[in-house]
Symmetry: C2
């Protein structure tokens, strides 16, 4: 803010000059005190001048009967999980009341490196939403996989100078931290004095103390109450995650009490386009929390000021003098229907419809990213070295998996998919550098009876992950993804049944929200016709290659025992 | 922390290496969750590695039956008000459990400018206490007085680069802020993104919104509950002050609820050596808050983590991994008797006794600061222009005064002190630049029946303030202060009855706490013998020259109507 703007803001607050805009007669949610108070909100430029007895303005909008809330803050999200290009993502979430997101962009960074991050930032700068950047700490997530790009300590140092940067993104390499790995400690040291986010699924006791002692301030990976409680007691801020694949709200909500709520807030982590369209974004989490019994104003606090305080986001999270005029008009505080959205004093959505255009940004640097060595059928063969193998067991609704030792079916000395017992072949094909790497393993829980599914969304390295009932269909599915230069597909008997093209980094569509959801619907319907019983099979598939989430995962280099943090030879 | 130190801290936390020190068997106050938990505290160097099942250490101290609390933080204090040199101040407060103070050093800055501030910082760097510096925003406090030095916007810019600096000190020039004064707005603009403290006694409504809109984040001047509540609602952190002259705890404690307590914390502002010796520092405020009904752990939170969060003091305010090992062992949580004090892992006080030496710092730049033009008796004459004059009315226990219009006594065409009706002459003599400025006015509330009192502690410009029953004794008192090169005195019939020499900036003694208190005792006893009925007459006297506290004050330039923020001609 210039000195002139500041002087005008003060004059408007004092009542000496008319406001630019007054939001009149609303019931204002006070996130400082947990009250709902009456008062007109006077806005000057992009800021709030005051709440109270203000009546003179260039424009006055009446919000009688409505509640006014600060814009929501999503404290940890991978917007790439929506599979929407940045502008379409913004149209989806802004109309739901999300005014700010905190993200490390590590999905696109794993594919395109800092060029990918710059593409997203270039888009967001033209959109009515704030993006606060955490420098990605773990690109690649581990040394147990091949990513498209890597982010070194020197890159972290450079990213931390970017204007959106506020800290270091989720330090997923918790074994590295706990064991004093020099590279990850170097990235943490570079971020000293800034926010450093954690990612420590199941880490407890002295290991957790060691992880926190490194300087890590938050965690979003607790799935059981006692784990979250311990993290809180040891000083972490607890992000309560409610995404599409990871739903922790119900389990963790009992953690939220008068004594603890200020150190807890809501995050999305990963949410599908389908859920964004049909359920919502952070608004959906607030709504669900209220349904589960959380006091509505407190739920709003956990979606606004609590995150702003943890991340030190000046001017966000409240409706008060000097705060940005990011304001939601809500029809009520139970169903939390977002009626109107203001961003920096401008109306940017009304009744669910975004009121802003898509940004025009050159995407040349983030397209054409699939670069593969041709896969021969022979590469998909798994020799039957043992009749009992470690098998990845899917846990519905979670991104953690279980490591099971199961008897597998064999034929001709090869391990084969067993549709009867639902033990299917899983493949991860490297797709960035044409190395020809191909990891193979077995998974249970998909229920696929024929055909194959494949995806270039495969956290975090985003190689191509495929599950199938036959090698032929697995191969056909991988080849379809290569042809599309990224996407999702369902095939059977060598025929493509449905696809979604994701030309931007192999992660994002260039089509509107509704079209993406329609194609996903068709894909899931086809998957269902092929026998899949999981609610979001492509989301589940996309996390099977993420070797920082316990217990057993598959990368292009092979099966990873996440607990032991090593490849299973 | 170096990478090597960090790696060792992590190893100790993990249990792979022995700690340097274990505090065993204490009951640990968890300021994150408001609980008291058991666990051994493992310390590595100056940090806490973890709390839990730790047993191997170079040294183990048993604290069975004791509570362990984080060191206390005083979020707003003018340590100069203790009249103790920096080392003696630290010995007094560290043994009471204060591990960190936030101060703008504006008392010594008003006398000696940045040289004075550097002197204090040089001392503190050798002491077991943290000093977080707020750049003084208002030196001089107003244009209505003559100070020894001034701090310009350019000086603020420079101070903000000092390693202790975290923000801008209490912006006392609230009329300037509200009216868009360019100099004060410039200082605020220079501090953007840092902490900016307020000082807005009685400011409410749109004026308060304007003040906050300028970017100011806290206030410590509320004396009534509704004022503090409004400040909280508008987004300020409310510092609840309990000093020697300003006692707001009882009035403001009802503000502290489950919904609000995180945005409230305790501060001292000004506390006398007497109170430090006999009552304590922040520990005394916590003790009193508990006696008034505040839950003990919450009281500790308000003396520790809440301030740390507002000021973003990394590593302070909790006993948890990576936090500094600033730990108090308390005998109990009701009387809050501080048994042992650790600062950065070292024991620095035990059973009220400091265990560290005084720093040796050259004080040449901050002594010999009284520089006066000789005062003739004629200068003390007040011509009787009117029989009814504005009179300063002292409000016992507060630093605010009332402006009363009272009939004054006259003789020979001159206004004179009236001991019967307790309307006495008050003088403020400029003492920095030998200008010969002398302000005169009348005050009621002292009760002095004979003689005069004078002080070179006279907030904030620290000229010489004197109250007396005759011009002769006022003059004698002022001359005694000049002779001492700063101090306090009580005189009668031209004879000095008692004095306290304050050679450092005219503000601080060079003697130990107990000697200062003994001399103050004698001064107050003499004042009492002269008829004074106020509990702390020299403290009261010292605030009568502070033209940022309503309603009526006296400076070397004359009477100041604080509400109208102008000199009364």
């Amino acid at each position: 803010m210039t000195m002139t703007e500041k002087a005008r803001l003060i004059a408007v607050a004092k009542g000496d000059q008319p406001a630019d805009l007054i939001l009149a007669n609303g019931r204002v949610v006070n996130t400082f005190t947990g009250e709902v108070l009456s008062g007109n909100v006077a806005i000057c430029g992009d800021r709030i001048a005051g709440v109270g007895d203000y009546h003179e303005a260039k424009q006055t909008l009446d919000f009688s009967g409505k509640y006014l809330s600060p814009g929501f803050i999503d404290g940890h999200v991978h917007l790439e999980s929506s599979m929407l290009d940045v502008g379409q993502y913004a149209r989806a979430v802004v109309s739901r009341g999300t005014s700010a997101i905190v993200t490390d962009l590590h999905e696109i960074a794993n594919v395109c490196g800092m060029e990918g991050m710059r593409y997203v930032l270039d888009c967001v700068r033209k959109l009515p939403i704030d993006l606060f950047l955490m420098a990605p700490s773990c690109v690649p997530a581990t040394h147990l996989e091949t990513s498209g790009a890597s982010i070194s300590p020197e890159d972290v140092r450079q990213i931390l100078r970017w204007r959106e940067a506020i800290g270091l993104g989720e330090v997923m390499n918790f074994p590295g931290v706990i064991n004093g790995d020099a590279t990850v400690l170097r990235k943490i040291a570079l971020s000293q004095g800034k926010i450093i986010d954690g990612h420590a699924p199941g880490v407890r006791g002295k290991d957790l103390s060691a992880y926190i002692a490194a300087g890590i301030g938050s965690d979003h990976e607790s799935i059981v109450l006692e784990e979250a409680r311990e993290k809180l007691q040891k000083g972490m801020f607890v992000m309560i995650r409610e995404g599409s694949s990871e739903k922790n709200l119900e389990a963790l909500l009992p953690l939220v009490t008068d004594n603890t709520y200020k150190r807890c807030f809501f995050v999305i982590d990963d949410r599908s386009a389908y859920d964004l369209l049909h359920d919502g974004d952070i608004d959906a989490v607030v709504r669900r929390a209220i349904k589960l019994g959380l006091e509505p104003v407190r739920a709003v606090q956990m979606a606004t000021i609590n995150a702003a305080e943890y991340f030190r986001l000046g001017g966000l999270g409240a409706i008060a003098p000097s705060y940005f005029a990011n304001i939601l008009a809500l029809d009520d505080l139970e169903n939390l229907s977002v009626n109107t959205v203001f961003y920096r004093g401008r109306m940017v959505a009304r009744e669910g419809k975004p009121l802003f255009p898509l940004p025009q940004v050159d995407n040349g640097a983030v397209t054409g990213t699939v670069n593969m060595k041709p896969i021969t059928p022979k590469k998909l063969i798994m020799p039957a070295t043992s009749t009992e193998l470690p098998v990845i067991e899917v846990v519905p609704g979670q991104i953690v998996t279980r490591k099971r030792y199961l008897k597998v079916s064999t034929a001709d000395g090869q391990v084969i998919s067993d549709t009867e017992r639902d033990i299917l072949k899983l493949a991860v094909a490297e797709r960035h550098h044409a190395t020809g790497n191909l990891g193979l393993g077995m998974v249970t829980g998909f229920g696929l009876k024929k055909g194959a599914l494949a995806s270039s969304v495969a956290h975090d390295s985003h190689n191509i992950v495929a599950v199938g009932t036959s090698d032929e269909d697995i191969l056909a599915a991988i080849q379809e993804i290569e042809r599309l230069q990224g996407g999702l597909t369902a095939v059977a008997e060598g025929q493509v049944l449905a696809s979604l093209s994701l030309p931007i980094a192999g992660l994002l569509s260039d089509e509107p929200l509704e079209a993406v959801v329609a194609q996903l619907d068709k894909l899931e319907q086809k998957a269902s016709e092929l026998g899949v019983r999981l609610p979001s099979p492509f989301a589940t598939l996309s996390f099977l290659a993420l070797p920082v989430i316990p217990e057993l995962k598959l990368t292009d280099l092979g099966l990873v025992d996440v607990i032991e943090f090593r490849l299973i030879s």
